[in-house]
Symmetry: C2
Subunit: 231 residues, 2 copies
């Protein structure tokens, strides 16, 4: 614990975006408290990545168990096929079956509870509204509304210590996120984005998330260090 | 399942207020889906009441486990003494140590997730801003902000099916709530409000919640059917 630093709770999924958000929170001078969720996701390999990232960064890390039934109805939690595409241009603007109902709302709520206990007034979330999968809870208007709500929900908020939800990636392209992370020394080999990885953790290369990630690395002009099934 | 009725998720703590909110949801014509939370509360006897209420009302009931560490720092979850008073006038306007960080925010978030899966656009919560314990997340402005956020967070919201958070008790006194519940046939012997009950479930009679409840029954002009330690 470093008494000279302000604390921040950082949502850490194990993916590329939240790993970058963690690095940004730390470079901005916060003492980070990372939080991950085990909710029956079929891509649980991301949690192993989250643990490694937290260990590498030497930050306190809390893993919260959420009964998978709470998030039923999504291809990420249920026995519903994850859509695969040949190219990123095939993605549509519709909300896809990989949408997990109210996931970021639930995750942020646990982060707000932990922030209250820690005396933290800052929460970081790696949502991104450009190269994303079309989920409603990744948009700037959602983040703004969540912050307004959280300031009415908490003792921190009502006592004048404004709680802030930081979404530093929200207006960046995937390529910009990767460039930012590379500049901050993020090890992207320790991040997993795939919605449907092989048992050994290799990425499928064809789900929405893989396609957006691969396009991002291509546009950033560097190789993706993550292993893919077709490598 | 009744296809002719609109579905509503009802947060059911096992206490007096939420039992009344459940009865109101049903009399308003909703098919209710009750949701309770096991979060390490020392007054877990309320969950037995919630189960009995759901059974009596023949509604589907989901019990969600939340890791107690998520709500640490409260007298309701930790080894902190629950304050006792001789009279209700001794309660102050300060947020008391029985405040559980972001509890209603977390509970509502699970309710929103379930509503998305059920195709429900209505959520009932028995919060009450008059005879209450001074928690920030029981005020009308919190409920309004939560509803605004939820409509940006969900597919239901973005597709034009406005999600509504109903707080039918928010402007009622405890006595008014009890009168309403009596008119609807709520069995208050099956409700537990005490923050620090005896192992056999009897209420302490001196915590904030007991004092507000006893005052409510007195003002409503009827006896509280719940057993108290001093009875």
């Amino acid at each position: 614990m470093d008494e000279t630093k302000k604390r921040a709770v950082v949502l850490l999924s194990g993916g590329l975006d939240s790993a970058t958000a963690l690095a940004i929170a730390r470079i901005e001078g916060y003492e980070a408290y990372a939080m991950s969720f085990r909710y029956g996701q079929r891509h649980a390999v991301e949690l192993e990545c989250a643990v490694r990232q937290a260990t590498t960064s030497a930050v306190e890390h809390r893993m919260v168990d959420i009964d998978p039934v709470s998030f039923s109805g999504s291809a990420l939690t249920d026995d519903i096929a994850v859509p695969k595409h040949g190219h990123v241009d095939e993605l549509t603007d519709d909300v896809p079956v990989t949408y997990v109902p109210a996931r970021n709302t639930v995750f942020l709520s646990f982060a707000v509870a932990w922030a209250e206990v820690l005396g933290a007034h800052d929460i970081f979330i790696g949502v991104n509204a450009l190269d994303y999968s079309g989920y409603p809870d990744c948009r700037p208007e959602f983040i703004e509304a969540y912050e307004a709500m959280a300031n009415l929900a908490t003792v921190a908020g009502v006592s004048g210590n404004r709680l802030r939800i930081h979404a530093p990636l929200i207006k960046l392209t995937k390529a910009e996120i990767i460039k930012r992370g590379n500049a901050l020394g993020v090890d992207y080999s320790q991040t997993s984005s795939c919605y449907d990885p092989a048992p050994d953790g290799r990425a499928c290369g064809h789900c929405d998330s893989c396609l957006l990630r691969l396009k991002g690395f291509e546009e950033a002009g560097c190789a993706d260090p993550r292993k893919y099934i077709e490598d």
